[in-house]
Structures are given as structure tokens and as C-alpha cells.
């Protein structure tokens, strides 16, 4: 296997083909990002399918196989399809999804009719046209690769030059128009670039699967970043890798079409992104959710401990209560209770005596006081949001008594007193409000 791999890589023809598929993977990944963000994923699909009749027409008119004329034919019929979709949407009651479906299937059907006609009447299978359905990288010759390379390079260059313009056009077309961007021109340009990136992929990936090559790298890339620039680059890399891997697999496996293998490669990369991407991947989300649940239940328990101890009055060390009392104070998911209590015990925040009664430790009192204080201050903020608007809290965690301006702090404290919500039980030392400050109030 490895030997064969090295042997293949030394073959100059293989090198050319790999370069070609890599570049078309990169360009479809880059332009696919824009297609995806402009919600034009399906337009790419329609254009790819519509390219088939264009390719067949070009063959009929030119008389023999020629990639450059095929590309011209595919581009023209792709554009006609895009225009037709717009025309149908604007001039009938048919909605976008139906218009896309209509144009896609009709033009593909027409393409198949032409293809059958050619195979029966003009040179039969020698035309190599059927390779355009599922794609066959091996059918590329040196000249084809050169053409694809040049087109891909031009597409990437134009995208780099107009990156800022494409970005604002994609994010907020109205604003772009308002500040004087010639939006009709740039819309058209971007559309042409997308059509071209679809068209150069046809021979390798095939009309049926080309849309996946446009969209999948972009979706995968979106998982790894929140910046358009990074997304475009990552998407290009994913597209390039998939192109190379798919082509290589198909040249080493006899009779395998390239398109499906490229799509399998890109889909694998997408699945890896979906599952393992930091922040947005499924694994990372699941871990975050579990952590949050655990932390919430621990904090809820501490709040209950504090409330119970506070309500009992007197010294905290003398107050203890049963598990039922704690659970009745604030509901905590039963599966989490024992785990969370163990965690609290381990951190020496609470203690349990022989009669299975629970109580706060000095350290636990300090922490639960802090939590309760923030919780109650947050409640005050919610009740008087209009007046305290500048604070912009969105949860208890945002409350930080140290960072607050002193007048706001005093206002919140007096609100707590007015509503009889000031914490009555103060630990000996704490980071929040000291005993003195409360007395001063």
C-alpha cells in the first residue's frame, strides 16, 4: 500500500491531478463560505445540476471533448439557471425553495436527455461526458489541470482583493448600499465567482455532488472560528485536503469515481468538526453542560444552607438541619444531590454529624454568604433595573461588589435593607461587605 503510494506520488501526471483537485477544493471552500453565509447553499446545487446541459451543448456545438468549452457551456447554463430562479421568484407566486427545486430537476433532466442522445448518436462513450455526473479526476489531462489551476488562482485573487466588500455585502447588504457600495455589481461578481468555482469542480467531483463540495467545508470551518477571515481560510484548507485525499483514494482504487470519495473525505472532516471542535463541538458542549449543572446544584445547595442557618438565628455553629429540609428549601435534581453534597464535604464547606444532620463550616459560611449576598443584590438589580440600568448584569455572576461605584453599592445595600433582604448572618472575615459596612448603613 505504502509502496504504491510513493509510486503514485512520483508519477508526474498524479502530481498534476492532485494539484488541480487541491486548488479546486480550496476555491470551492473559500467561495462556499460566502455562499453559505448568504444562504445560497442550494443555489450552488441548482447551478451544478444546470451545468450538465451546458456541458452537453458545448460538446454538440464544438464536436469533441474540450475542457475550456465545457467550462464555458457550464458557466452559461449555470448563470441561466441562477437568473431563471430569480425570475421565477420575482414574477410568480412560487417561493424560493420551489423555484430552486424546479430549475434544478428540469435542467438536470434536460442534461440527461442530451447525454443519452450524445452517447447513442455521437461517438458513444468515448465522449467521456458521463464522467461529469459523478466526476473522475483521472480523466483530467495536463492541459485541463492548467486551466483549472489558472481559474482557481484568479478566483482566490479576486476574493482576496474584494474581501472587505464581500464581507459587508454578505453581512448587511442594505447598509453596504447606503454607504455607496455598488451592490448590484458586487452581487453579480460574487455570483460569477461561485458559478466558476462550481464549474471547475464538475469534472472531478461531478454535477450531483458539487454542491456538497461548496457547502460542507464552510459548515465545518464555521465550527472552529467566529471570524470570517479565519473561516474562509479554514474552509479553503478543508476543501483542499478533501480534494487531495479523495482523488488519491480514487486513483489507487480501480473503478472508483472521484466525486463520492472527495465527498466522503470532506464529510469526515465535517463530522470531526461537529464532534470535536472547541467551544461549539458536541463534546465540548456536553462537557460544559455537565459542569454547569454540577456547579448550579452546588451553589443552590449552599444558598439553601445559608438561608436555613440564617432563619434559625443565633450562632451558625449551633444550627444543623436534615437533608429533607435542605431539599425542600430549593429543589435540586435528585441525581445530583448526593454528588454535590459529597463535593461540599470534600471541600470542607459543610459538615455532617452522627445524627445525619448537616451544617455549615466557617469556610462554608464565608462562601455561602458571598453567594447569597450576590444573589440578593442581583434580585434588587432586577427589581430596579430601570434605575440601575448602567450595571448591565445578566446573571448573579456579574455582580461584583468590589468593582461597583460606591454610590451604586450604597443604593443596592439600602434597597436590600428596605426589602428586608440583607444577609443577617455575617462571617468573621469576608471579601464582600464587612460587618462594619453593614453597621454603617
Amino acid at each position: 500500500m505504502l509502496e504504491e503510494l510513493f509510486y503514485q506520488l512520483q508519477n508526474q501526471n498524479t502530481q498534476w491531478v492532485l494539484l488541480g483537485t487541491m486548488l479546486l477544493g480550496v476555491s470551492s471552500g473559500v467561495l462556499g463560505s460566502f455562499a453559505l453565509l448568504r444562504k445560497q447553499s442550494l443555489i450552488g446545487d441548482a447551478m451544478a445540476h444546470a451545468a450538465l446541459p451546458g456541458v452537453c451543448m458545448a460538446f454538440l456545438l464544438y464536436g469533441s471533448k474540450s475542457l475550456i468549452w465545457f467550462l464555458v457551456g457550464a458557466a452559461i447554463s449555470g448563470m441561466i439557471a441562477a437568473w431563471l430562479i430569480q425570475f421565477i421568484i420575482q414574477n410568480s407566486r412560487i417561493k424560493e425553495d420551489s423555484a430552486l427545486g424546479l430549475v434544478l430537476s428540469v435542467s438536470f433532466g434536460f442534461g440527461i436527455v442530451l447525454l443519452t442522445f450524445i452517447q447513442h448518436n455521437r461517438g458513444g462513450n468515448q465522449s467521456g461526458l458521463s464522467d461529469f455526473i459523478f466526476g473522475k479526476a483521472a480523466s483530467m489531462v495536463g492541459q485541463d489541470v492548467q486551466i483549472i489551476t489558472w481559474i482557481a488562482a484568479i478566483l482566490l485573487l479576486i476574493t482576496a482583493v474584494f474581501f472587505k466588500e464581500f464581507k459587508i455585502l454578505t453581512f448587511d447588504p442594505q447598509f453596504a448600499k447606503g454607504i455607496g457600495l455598488p451592490t448590484t455589481f458586487f452581487n453579480g461578481l460574487l455570483m460569477v465567482l461561485i458559478v466558476c468555482s462550481v464549474v471547475i469542480g464538475l469534472q472531478t467531483v461531478g454535477v450531483i455532488l458539487m454542491a456538497a463540495m461548496l457547502i460542507t467545508p464552510a459548515i465545518a470551518a464555521r465550527y472552529w472560528t467566529d471570524k470570517l477571515g479565519h473561516m474562509v481560510v479554514i474552509s479553503g484548507i478543508i476543501g483542499g485536503i478533501s480534494g487531495v485525499v479523495g482523488t488519491f483514494l480514487s486513483t489507487t482504487t480501480k473503478g472508483m469515481a472521484t466525486g463520492p470519495l472527495i465527498i466522503v473525505a470532506v464529510t469526515s472532516l465535517f463530522l470531526i468538526s461537529l464532534i470535536f471542535a472547541p467551544k461549539k463541538g458536541l463534546v465540548s458542549i456536553a462537557i460544559k453542560r455537565v459542569k454547569l449543572r454540577k456547579r448550579t446544584s452546588i451553589e443552590q445547595l449552599l444558598l439553601s444552607f445559608y438561608d436555613l442557618t440564617e432563619n434559625a438565628g443565633g450562632k451558625y455553629a449551633a444550627v444543623s438541619f436534615s437533608l429533607d429540609e435542605i431539599v425542600n428549601k430549593r429543589k435540586v435534581t435528585s441525581s445530583l444531590i448526593s454528588k454535590s453534597l459529597n463535593e461540599l464535604l470534600k471541600k470542607r464547606l459543610v459538615a455532617i454529624d452522627r445524627e445525619k444532620k448537616w451544617k455549615l463550616t466557617e469556610k462554608g459560611l464565608q462562601l455561602s454568604y458571598q453567594l447569597s449576598l450576590n444573589q440578593r443584590l442581583y434580585e434588587m438589580y432586577l427589581m430596579h433595573e430601570m434605575e440601575l440600568a448602567q450595571l448591565q448584569f445578566s446573571s448573579r455572576e456579574d455582580v461584583d461588589i468590589e468593582k461597583m461605584p460606591s454610590d451604586i453599592k450604597e443604593r443596592l445595600m439600602s434597597l436590600l435593607k428596605d426589602h428586608h433582604r440583607e444577609p443577617m448572618l455575617l462571617p468573621k472575615s469576608n471579601n464582600g461587605l464587612s460587618r462594619k459596612e453593614w453597621l454603617y448603613q
Binding site: 453565509l37 466588500e165 448587511d172 442594505q174 447598509f175 447606503g178 454607504i179 455607496g180 440600568a389
Partner: protein, 250 residues
Amino acid sequence: MNPVTVENLTVAYHRKPVLQEVGFEVPEGKLIGIIGPNGAGKSTLIKAVLGLIPIASGEVEIYGDHYKKQRKRVGYVPQRGTVDWDFPTNALDVVLMGRYGHIGWLKRPGKKDIDFARECLEKVGMLDFSDRQISQLSGGQQQRVFLARALAQDADVYFMDEPFVGVDAATEKAIIALLNELKARGKTVLVVHHDLQTVEEYFDWVMLLNLRKIAFGPTSEVFTMDNLQKTYGGRLTFLQDKNVLVDETK
């Protein structure tokens, strides 16, 4: 020179007029509210003035000249719902887009532009959020980012489409403070507005619109029961006085 002069403006969608023969002259340095029931053509008026939609007839001038020549003097805050907030970009980047018209095409924003964008974020109290992905912002914070972007346009006349819709108390306050600051600096601001209760508090001048211009002038003169009834027709319930107006179309 008036910031905005509109003459005989008519706009039609699919042959149905949505604005008919609207004409007015906007005075300089005022906060102006544009109010009217749903479908009255308030947003359409702004878009037509900014050349975002084709006009059927009429003329629009910004500082006595065609809008295309005065673009740099105009700032625009579209409705928040018109963009996809899941777009991969952060708050600072969105504000920088306000500089694009000044930077010119093909050039990248420089350090000056970035510093200016930061200043604008600070003015709306959002500097701490400059690196935040925009989908992570609350509705009010997104609205403030949009306002900061308009500030970054460094314009003389601003058009804002429903900036108060769906925002929290903090943002409403911030927007009002900002509007007053703009006014103090001699800028003119036109705001499409929904809430009749706050019209008198927020705006110096007001336009009442319902397909046609019903009235336009200083709030104290124009914002009357009579005019409101003309604008809203039967869709308005009056409860004793206009402090408790209820727009039934809502």
C-alpha cells in the same frame, strides 16, 4: 441649508403606492420622530431618502445636493432584524464597517479607523464587548453596536429605523443620551418610532405619517389629539388624555 429636503415623494411596491406625495424640509440640529401606524411607510420613507429603494417620483436632497454626493454626511441605523447576527464577526468589526465609506474601496482599515471605532463603542458603553462574537450579545447590545457603527460614519444627519424596538432599559437610556449628545453637537437625527407615550419626551419635532404626510413640525404644535386621530384613524383608543394613548394595531 436644510439637512434633508423632500419634494413630492411617491414610492410604490408592485404598483400599490406606499408613500404618496410626501414633502418636507428637515431643520438642522433637531431630534425628529417619525411616527404612524404599522404599514404607514415610515421605514419606506427612510429607505427612499437613502436611495435604498427606487422611488416612483419626487426629489430628495441632502444638504442641497443629490444623496450620492453627500453620502459621507449621512449615517444609517437599519432595523436590527435585517441582518443575520450569527455572522462570524465581532462587535468591533461591525463598527469598523461604518468606516468603510470613508476608507474607500479596496483599502484596509488603518489604526486610526480602529481607534475611532473603539471610541464609538465606548460612547455606547460597549467597549468591553469589542471582541465579543455578535451572536453572544443581547438584543439591546446588538442595537448599540449598530448605533456605534452609525457614529463611526461620522455623519451630520442620521437616520435610525426603530432603534428602540425590543431593547432593554439600559439601552433605551443609552440611546436617548446619545441622541441628545448628537443634538448638542449640532447633528440632525430622524428616528422611526413606535411608542406614542415617549414622543413628547424624546423628540423636538415630529412627523405624523400614514401613506401621506399628516403633519410635520415642532412636537408641541403638531403632536395633537386631532392630528393623531387623523394619522391612526379608528385604530387609536384615547383614554382621557394622550398620556395614555394605546395604539390598537400593536
